[in-house]
Symmetry: C2
Subunit: 199 residues, 2 copies
Amino acid sequence: MEYYSSHINKLIEQLSRLPGIGAKSAQRLAFHILNMPKDQVEQLSASIVNAKANVQYCKNCYTLTDQEICPICNNPRRDRKVIMVVENTRDLAAYEKTGKYDGVYHVLHGAISPMLGIGPDDIKLKELMQRLSQDDIEEVIIATNSSLEGETTAMYISKLVKPSGIRVSRIASGVPVGGDLEYIDEVTLLRALEGRVEL
Amino acid sequence: MEYYSSHINKLIEQLSRLPGIGAKSAQRLAFHILNMPKDQVEQLSASIVNAKANVQYCKNCYTLTDQEICPICNNPRRDRKVIMVVENTRDLAAYEKTGKYDGVYHVLHGAISPMLGIGPDDIKLKELMQRLSQDDIEEVIIATNSSLEGETTAMYISKLVKPSGIRVSRIASGVPVGGDLEYIDEVTLLRALEGRVEL
């Protein structure tokens, strides 16, 4: 593209590699960045490098944190006997926002997906089993996504953990609160029916 | 947000300031960046700083470029007697992609908008008038957007340039190619009618 300078092309190319950012958005972002004051551009750039340099996995639950052990695992008020297994740190954050869960977490960093060639060894599953064998755990709550991969992973973990006698549960799937039945897919509707609770 | 580290929060905050990136997208981008290999993260960060540091306005047409004079103004095969006036470098790029325009450009970096308090002095209009008085120009093609601001700017430029005897034209507005009449707004339909050409 002769009409942009090589530095602009390079920036557009880098931005368009990010997820959910197409060629048009990358252009728009690039020109926005070029019009930002220099100190703001430097802050943006520094925040990227700093986050990458300082963030690591918590040695206990494998969430992304800037400490050896994350604030949740380090919090004495959290119930360490209950572990919620999630696919990634964003899912952990979603449950933290509810403010109602007081157990700890285990972050898998992915889900089993034969399609994408992701097997049990590619996610933090060995690490989960190690925690279960070392610590005094009463319940494992599987909160992987309600997708094919999430369900596969849930089944796999359930089979792995059950023989140890630890209670294994799965978060309910059904109609989302405020959801209009008319617009909800059939699988979800059937799940909601199967999982109905007595009133 | 206790559940993310301060470096992650800082990155999310910086990303969410970019246009079109909400809180959710910023989170998704941040975790994507954290999962990228270190050298790719550094490339991304460097491309941001380098673009900002090396890109400047072309001394002739005011497009963003990394040279004193941009490749288009420097190209001896371009017709320097025809200037297309556009609002920004992205619009220039849109016309360059057609590959059919062989004149040069003038980038205003904005449009007159009384609503936003942007007056004629806030865009590169003086610079355009200076080019017209210094160089031998035959035609000014106004290709500002077909918005209220774009039209206002077009009218303003037209009034300014006409007394000099230079031909002033405006790109046609009408039904976009492939556009379905049913879904096109009334103003566009009326414009298309007014601008009809004999076959």
